[in-house]
């Protein structure tokens, strides 16, 4: 017995049937059917419905983003990032998921493509807009697409840069502490007779000279660190302000002119950089103080017995 369907049920069923026809590659196949009618047609038969999704909310990835050149240019940095321990965010999809700005940028890029009409994705000349202007600055649209993803690349570069800076800092501290530990050992030694053989060495282990030598050592190492940091910034094309944390991000939201100080972002960025260097000095002072305590305890607990020289004959 045939069942009568209500209008709403019929509409729902038809809707589902329509959606089914467009799913699982059906959409592209339909476009292919249309373009197949015409010989020498240059129209794309790739459907938006068959493009991979980048966000759970259903926004599709821009076709420009998946361009081979973009993939090639980002592959290298992705490989580098994948080698960094603990780095999970090494895919384009993750970047869009974890970074709403990237997803939004891709969506805006896609809207621009739609806005420009469908034919070969070329921008509509009658309605030039920001994206079209950007594209027009470069005749190579693929190259432009690559340029239009600075956030995506910068994000990766920034992570890589931060990793390198942490590594550099760790090495510098390690070397410094490796030198400071024996130095403090001898400084705290109650009878450093071994080093008194040389005048220079005896001057070095002289307690009154400790502060000058420690500060000299700090200046040398901090200078080396600062120079290497600058080199890293140049190599990775990262500025101090880009690497700075939350304070600068909030400062960028304040329009220029509101605050009485000009270029406050640059100044605070520089101050943060000096603070980073100064914090290394403070850390070393703390380390040395702890070492003093440890060595004092060590020398008092384990006194080195000074050999008693035999009496010289004739003196007795």
């Amino acid at each position: 017995m045939a069942t009568e369907l209500s209008d709403a049920e019929k509409r729902k069923l038809l809707r589902e049937r329509r959606q089914q026809k467009f799913s699982n590659g059906g959409a592209s196949s339909r476009l292919n059917k249309i373009t197949g009618q015409q010989q020498n047609s240059f129209l794309s038969s790739t459907s938006v419905l068959d493009e991979p999704k980048v966000t759970p909310s259903g926004n599709k990835k821009s076709s420009n983003v998946s361009d081979e050149e973009v993939e090639k240019s980002t592959k290298e940095i992705q490989d580098l990032l994948s080698s960094i321990p603990g780095n999970k965010d090494n895919s384009e999809t993750d970047a869009a998921e974890t970074n709403p700005e990237v997803a939004l940028f891709q969506q805006l890029l896609k809207m621009q493509q739609q806005g420009g009409g469908f034919q070969n994705g070329s921008p509509d000349a009658s309605t030039p807009d920001l994206f079209s202007s950007l594209l027009n600055n470069d005749t190579n649209t693929t190259a432009s697409a690559t340029q239009m993803l600075p956030n995506f690349v910068d994000e990766k570069v920034l992570k890589y840069y931060k990793f390198k800076v942490s590594k550099l800092k760790s090495y510098i501290i390690l070397i410094k502490w490796a030198l400071l530990a024996p130095y403090v050992y001898f400084i705290m030694h109650p009878n450093p007779t071994v080093l008194q053989a040389s005048n220079l060495l005896s001057q070095i282990v002289e307690r009154s000279n400790f502060f000058s030598i420690f500060t000299g050592l700090e200046i040398v190492f901090i200078s080396i660190y600062y120079q290497m940091l600058k080199k890293l910034q140049r190599d990775n094309n990262v500025t101090a302000t880009q690497n700075a944390g939350g304070i600068l991000k909030y400062l960028t939201m304040i329009p220029e002119g509101i605050l009485p100080i000009r270029n406050i972002q640059g100044k605070i960025g520089l101050a943060l950089e000096y603070f980073d260097v100064a914090s290394m000095y403070v850390t070393d002072i703390c380390f040395v103080l702890v070492l003093f305590g440890v060595m004092k305890y060590y020398h008092s607990s384990f006194p080195i017995s000074v050999p008693i020289e035999p009496p010289i004959a004739g003196i007795q």
């Binding site: 509409r11 038809l14 049937r17 249309i34 309605t127």
Partner: protein, 349 residues
């Protein structure tokens, strides 16, 4: 189980649930004529309801289609009590906003007022890409607000005579893009709310409050646009290769936005084999081509309402002509019985 789809728009025209109807397609396929026809038929079928036809196309045609001037404010169509029309005019809307800004700043410091006196704001913002879409969107928000608060003119259904495909898709994506932007903005304001409010405090503007209100409105629009009982899109095309291709792309884009699309109007069909007297060789040849694409349309869109509309001998302008033409949205055009209608259209001076 009968799942055949009628070749007319009766279900849409007599619908009591639809609040937003978009009519769109490639340029020059007859979007304005189709949207006017749908609006007229809806207004005739349900006289107790109020309808508003909005043109969001920067190159407006509504005034010419009805043969009377419409502006940025809704105005009733002469001869129809329940159908109003308006053309969204970015420059006029921005000029109003500029004047309002001048008026608001008149009491404050004179510098800003002086800056705006020459219409600087409208000139500056008028060239912003996508401003037409943004203003159309503002109009949608205004109607939703009116509907809720019972203020201003209330309309049961708003029909959009949209711009060519690209602009329209941009407009339809605005809710999700805005929603994302506002979400991001919400995160920032959650942290900086008091500071932002104190910055805006000089003018007693509750910035965070306004933003959350805007966000809730945008979410509401998004929800309504993706509800198939409230919103639908009518695609208009002609039986030609490029038009068919663009229609298919449009349908797919709309599906990707979770928007309902179930009707396609195929305009400018010649039905040349039924022509009386000497048949035009060019018409016959063109009809042959149209038939080829019509077969493909029938095959591709078997689950859609496909409405085949004839190419008329004269221009379809003026309420009477539109009424005559629009009848075929409800009763499919019969090339034999209805052929005289296409020659009956009154000439508009």
């Amino acid at each position: 189980m009968d799942l055949t789809v009628e070749p007319d728009l009766n279900s849409l025209i007599t619908s009591s649930t639809h609040r937003w109807i978009f009519v769109g397609g490639k340029g020059g396929v007859g979007k304005t004529t189709s949207s006017c026809s749908i609006a007229i038929q809806m207004a005739l079928a349900q006289p107790e309801k109020q309808y508003l036809l909005i043109s969001t196309d920067p190159a407006h045609n509504l005034s010419d289609a009805f043969g009377e001037k419409f502006g940025k404010d809704a105005r009733k169509v002469t001869g129809m009590n329940n159908l109003s029309c308006m053309e969204i005019d970015p420059s006029a809307a921005l000029k109003d906003m500029n004047d309002m800004a001048v008026a608001n700043n008149a009491t404050g410091s004179g510098e800003f007022s002086d800056l705006l006196q020459g219409g600087a704001l409208s000139e500056l913002t008028g060239s912003i890409p996508g401003i037409d879409e943004a203003l159309s969107f503002m109009e949608v928000m205004k109607h939703i607000k009116n509907q809720e608060q019972g203020e201003g003119d209330r309309y049961d259904t708003v029909i959009f005579d949209t711009a060519p495909t690209g602009h329209t898709l941009r407009f339809l994506q605005l809710p999700s893009t805005l929603s994302k932007l506002l979400e991001k903005f919400g995160e920032i304001t959650a942290r900086l709310g008091p500071m932002l409010n104190s910055l805006a405090g000089a003018n007693n503007v509750d910035l965070v409050g306004k933003m959350s209100e805007l966000k809730s409105n945008v979410e509401k629009i998004k929800e309504q646009f993706t509800n198939p009982d409230m919103t639908t899109f009518v695609c208009v095309c002609i039986s030609e290769f490029l038009s068919l291709y663009e229609t298919e792309r449009l349908v797919q884009e709309l599906i990707s936005y979770d928007m309902d699309v179930n009707s396609i109007i195929v305009n400018q069909l010649l039905f040349a084999e039924y022509d009386e007297g000497d048949s035009c060789k060019r018409c016959q040849s063109r009809w042959k081509m149209q038939k080829k694409y019509l077969d493909q349309i029938d095959e591709l869109y078997e689950d859609f309402h496909i409405v085949k509309m004839p190419l008329c001998a004269g221009e379809i302008r003026g309420l009477n002509n539109l009424k005559k033409f629009s009848q075929f949205l409800r009763k499919p055009y019969d090339p034999v019985a209805d052929s005289k209608v296409i020659y009956e259209l009154e000439q508009q001076d």
